[in-house]
Each structure stands twice: as C-alpha cells, then as structure tokens.
Assembly symmetry: C2
Homo-oligomer: 182 residues x 2
C-alpha cells in the first residue's frame, strides 16, 4: 500500500500532526492521493510502532495538545526501497463518466439532471485550477531558481494544473454533446 509512502514523503517535506497531514491531503496531496483523517491516524500509529516515524508531544495554548510526527531513518530507507520497486499505473474511480454512459438508459428528465451535475463538476474543477495557479504563482515565482525538492513539487503541481485544464475542456465537450442530444 502507498498511503504510508505518501505520508512519509509529506513528513520528509515537513513534519506535522495527524490533523495537519489530513488537511494537506485535503489540499495539495489530495490531487494524487486521497485519505480521510481516520485512515491517516490509523496508519500513523502503525508507522510509529514500526519505527518509520517518531512522534513528539507538543503542548498548545487554547487548543488540544498535538503529536507532531517526523520521518525516522528506517522510514526513509523504506521509502527508498519502495522508490526502486515498479508501481502500477494509477487507478481511477470516475463516477461522473459512469453516469454519462448511464444517461443513455434514463429518460430526458434524467438527462437534464445530468447537465446540472456536469456543470457542478465543471465549476469545482475550475475553482481547483485557479487554486493551483494561485499556488504556483505564490510558491514558484521564479522557476529557474529551484532546488531539487521544489522542482519536483513544481512538476507534480504542473501535472495537477494540466489535469484540471483538460478536465474542464472535456466537461465542456460533454455539455456540448448533451446539448446536441436535446
């Protein structure tokens, strides 16, 4: 499984608590790996038991204490071993595409509902695209002056940007097709 590895990479980039990791997964990392806070907490405990990461209790004022994790050497070695092993092609679960093909077997009112649904997704993807673009301007203002870590983060972000662009264009194609069908 690779949630462990995604967490390791995130902790190597920046130590953090389970809660902080969960919000990172909701934002940037969520683009290529989704996880709920439950999953993250469970895997964090296992990783700590395996010695892959180390935890430090941090007391806070006005809010509960937190456990800040950072990657330990065995974890870094495990990541390195995983990097050398081939991985499978990405898996996708694209409900909307299933719906689009399914719309052929529904009546016209179902098709009208689908238009609204596609428009909703289009708005969400457009918003995400703009968030990525804003993040790019903020974090990578000078693409010529990046170290290795930043350059790799940037190329992954560019992947997200291109994915969102392509998706918005495709959803426009879907809307045009649905429009032609009446």
């Amino acid at each position: 499984m690779a949630l462990e590895h995604a967490i390791l990479v995130s902790l190597l980039e920046q130590p953090g608590s389970g809660y902080e990791l969960a919000s990172r997964f909701d934002r940037s990392i969520g683009r290529f790996w989704t996880a709920t806070h439950q999953q993250i907490y469970r895997v964090l405990r296992r990783m700590e038991a395996d010695g892959w990461i180390a935890a430090e209790e941090v007391a806070q004022e006005g809010r509960p204490d937190k456990r800040v994790y950072s990657a330990a050497e065995p974890g870094r070695r495990a990541l390195s071993a995983w990097l050398r092993a081939p991985v499978e092609p990405e898996t996708v679960r694209h409900d909307l595409a299933v719906k689009i093909r399914g719309a052929a077997f529904d009546d016209p009112s179902g098709r009208a509902g689908l238009v609204a649904e596609v428009e909703r997704h289009r708005a969400a993807h457009t918003a995400l695209l703009h968030r990525y673009l804003a993040g790019e301007r903020r974090d990578f203002p000078d693409p010529a002056a990046l170290d290795a870590q930043q350059a790799l983060q940037h190329v992954v972000l560019r992947g997200g940007i291109e994915y969102e662009r392509m998706t918005v264009a495709w959803l426009d194609d879907v809307l045009a097709t649905l429009h032609r069908l009446g």
Copy 2:
C-alpha cells in the same frame, strides 16, 4: 458504492458473463473504473439476489458453461435513482506522483531508477492512447451519425484520449525536469 452502477451500465449496453465483464473492465471501462474478477463475481451475485439483474445459464462446447447476466427492471430503476443523486469528485491514486516528490529524498541512483520508471509509464500511456484512437476509428467512423448511446460512449472515450495525451505530455515534462536535475 458505484461498482454496481458501472456493471449495470455495462450490462444495459450489452449482456454478458462475469468473465466478459471482467475483460470489459480491463479494457474500455477500466479507464474510469477498475475492478478485479473477484469483485465483479461477488457483486454480480448480490445484484442477482437483489433482483437488479437476471442470469441465464448458457452451455458452451469446448469450454465451461457461463452465466450470462442482463439488467432487470429494478436494476434500471436503481440506476435511474443513482443518476439523480449528486456524486463526489473522482478519486485518484497516483503512485507515480508520490514517487516523483519522494525522489527528492533519495540518492542519485534512486533518481536514475525513477527515470526508467517514468519512461515505462510513458510507454504504457502511449500504447493506451493508440488503442483508444484505433477504437475511435473503428467504432465511431462517422461522428455525425450517432444515436444517443453511441454519442455518450464517444464523449467518454474522447475524455480517455485527452487524458492519455495530457499524461504523455506531462511525463515528458517530468523527464525533462529529472534531466535538468542531473
């Protein structure tokens, strides 16, 4: 869950056995929904018990008998209800993106391995793109003369094609970035 719905759509387009469904999921449907034969057989039995689909035993020569399923009316109604409910944005599990960001924390030999891995994925995506394009030429030679079902299948296929094009271009970007990093 939506595997049920993906199966319903596939059976509405064309009745088939569990084995046939599994190979469809390995080919066209696998683009937006992956499933192993185990999952498919298990869900088919549940769907049959729920009356969503009907099975017919078909004897064959030279090979085992098969159970050919087709969508029943309650299944079509369940699909229709699902089409009217909003769905979540697609979820992605993109190991390769995790690896790319993880490569910042590995030594140069790990980075060399990553180049090979990216090239492997690039070849796979290129092959898939060409398969999709060949399928498009075969199944949709005249895009102006399609019924609703075909038009919807075609627009989903175009989504797959654009996704593969975008991915190949992005992997080239990744390779160029890795090359620049030495």
